[in-house]
C-alpha cells in the first residue's frame, strides 16, 4: 500500500502500551490498598477497568496493531477498541474516585481543589467541546493527508493514538457521569449532544466508504467503513443504555413532596464530592422518621396514654 519505516513501527506501539500496563497495575494496587480501610471497591469496576485496558493494549500491540499499518479494516477495529470501547470500560472503572479514596484525606482535598479550579478541565469536559475534540479529530484524521502521514512519522503516530484514546475518554465521561464530574449538564442536553456526535461518526464512516483516505484500497475502505459504522453503533448502544438507566434511577417517582411528575432535572446543587444535595434531601424525606424522631414519637404516645389513664 505504502512504505513506512519498519523499525520505528515495531518499537513504538510497545512504548504506547506501557502506560496502559502501568495504569492497570496501579489500579489493582489502589483497590487492594483502599479495601483494607474502606468499603470494598465494587468488583465490576475492576473487571471494567481490566477489560478496558485489555482493549486498548490489543489495539496498540499484537496482530491487530501490526495489520493496522497496512490494512484499513484492521485499523478500524483498532479505532473502535482504542477510541470507543476502552474509554467506555475504563470510565466505568471510576479511576479518579478510586485514587481519591486511596490517598490520605488532606491530599485528596488538595487534589479535588486543583481539579475543581482547573479551567482547562472544565472546558474539555463540556459535552460539546468533548464531542468536537473526539469526532472533529476523526474528521481531520480521515479526510486529510494526516492519515497517510501518520504511518510515516513516528511522533505523529504516537500523538494521534494518544489523542484518539484521550478524546474518547473525555467524551465518554462528558456524557455519562460515573466518576468525579466537574461540569454537569442535564440528561436531555447530553442526549442531544450525543445525537450529533453519533451522527457525525456515522456520516464520517459512510464518507470513508466513498472517499477513502489516500493510499487506501477501495475494498478495504468499504469493509473498514462498515466496521466503523456498525462497531461504533454497538459501543454507543452500551453507552446509551447506561445514560438512560442513570436517568431512570434519578427520575423515579417521588410522592412526598407533591412534585410528582416527569421531568428531566437540571440546575441541581452539588457538593464537592458530587453529591446531589436535593437528591439527598428528597431521599431523607422518603426515609421516614429518624431514630431520634421515633423515640420522641414513642415518648409522646406514652405520655398521651398516661394522661388518658390518669383521667380515668
Amino acid at each position: 500500500m505504502h512504505t513506512h519505516d519498519q523499525y520505528s513501527a515495531d518499537s513504538l506501539p510497545i512504548l504506547l502500551a506501557v502506560p496502559f500496563i502501568l495504569l492497570f497495575f496501579l489500579y489493582l494496587m489502589a483497590v487492594v490498598l483502599s479495601n483494607q480501610e474502606k468499603k470494598r471497591w465494587p468488583v465490576y469496576r475492576v473487571f471494567a477497568w481490566s477489560f478496558g485496558v485489555l482493549c486498548a493494549i490489543l489495539s496498540l500491540i499484537g496482530p491487530i496493531a501490526d495489520l493496522a499499518h497496512t490494512n484499513l479494516t484492521a485499523h478500524m477495529i483498532g479505532h473502535v477498541l482504542l477510541g470507543m470501547l476502552a474509554p467506555l470500560l475504563m470510565a466505568l472503572g471510576a479511576p479518579v474516585t478510586l485514587l481519591l479514596r486511596t490517598i490520605n484525606i488532606p491530599t485528596a482535598r488538595k487534589l479535588t481543589n486543583i481539579l475543581r479550579n482547573s479551567r482547562p478541565l472544565h472546558f474539555v469536559q463540556h459535552p460539546i467541546v468533548a464531542a468536537l475534540l473526539n469526532i472533529g479529530g476523526l474528521w481531520v484524521l480521515y479526510t486529510t493527508d494526516l492519515f497517510l502521514m501518520m504511518h510515516e512519522n513516528m511522533l505523529l503516530y504516537v500523538v494521534i493514538h494518544i489523542h484518539i484514546f484521550l478524546a474518547g475518554y473525555i467524551f465518554t465521561t462528558s456524557i455519562i457521569y460515573v466518576d468525579l464530574t466537574l461540569l454537569r449538564k442535564s440528561f436531555l442536553y447530553r442526549t442531544v449532544v450525543f445525537l450529533f456526535a453519533l451522527a457525525g461518526h456515522s456520516v464520517l464512516a459512510k464518507y470513508i466508504y466513498a472517499d477513502p483516505p489516500s493510499g487506501v484500497a477501495i475494498e478495504q475502505a468499504e469493509l473498514g467503513s462498515m466496521i466503523m459504522y456498525y462497531g461504533g453503533d454497538t459501543v454507543e448502544v452500551g453507552l446509551l443504555i447506561i445514560l438512560f438507566y442513570q436517568w431512570y434511577k434519578k427520575s423515579r417517582p417521588t410522592f412526598n413532596n407533591g412534585k410528582e411528575g416527569f421531568a428531566i432535572s437540571n440546575n441541581k446543587k452539588f457538593t464537592v464530592a458530587g453529591t446531589d444535595i436535593e437528591e439527598v434531601k428528597r431521599l431523607n424525606a422518603n426515609a421516614g422518621m429518624s431514630y431520634r424522631e421515633i423515640n420522641e414519637w414513642f415518648a409522646q404516645q406514652q405520655s398521651k396514654a398516661n394522661t388518658v389513664t390518669k383521667k380515668r
Binding site: 451522527a199 456520516v203 464518507y207 448502544v237 443504555i241
Partner: protein, 163 residues
Amino acid sequence: MTNSISTSSDYKQNPHKKAYAKQNMWTGILFGLGIVAFIDEVVFHQLLHWHHFYDKSTTDIGLVSDGLFHAFSFIATIGASFLLADLHRRHAFWLKRWIGGILLGAGVFQLYDGIIQHKWMGLHQIRYGVDILPYDLLWNILAALMIIIGAILIYQTNKERKG
C-alpha cells in the same frame, strides 16, 4: 397525588394514565420511529440486501440526513424503552395511546424515508434492478395508512382524556 400506595385493581386500570397522556404519546412516537429504522436496517439492508450501504447518487445532504436519522433512531428506541418502563412504574401506561404514537412515529419516518430520503436526496432505492414504482407506492401508501390510523387513535384518546 396524596398517596403512594396503589391497590392491585388501581394498577390494572393505570390510574395515572391521563396525567401522563403526553408521555404515553411521545414514548410511542419515539418507539415507532426507532422500530421502523430498525426494521429498515435489519430486513432491507442486512437480510434482503435490497438497500445499499452507500449509493453513488447520494448527495451530501442525504448522507447527513441518513447519519442523523440513524443516530436518532436508536437513541429513540432505547430512550423510549426507558420512558415506557417509567410509565409502568408510575402506573400511567395507556396502551391505546401508546400504540397510536407508535403508528404515527413509524408512519412519519417511513414517509420521510420513502419520499425525502429515497427520492429527493437519492440516498438509495428500495430495490435495485426492478420496476421501482410498485415498491415506492406500497412503501408510501403503507406509511400514509399508519399515519392515519395513528392519528385516529391519538384523537380518540384525546377525547377520552377530556371527556
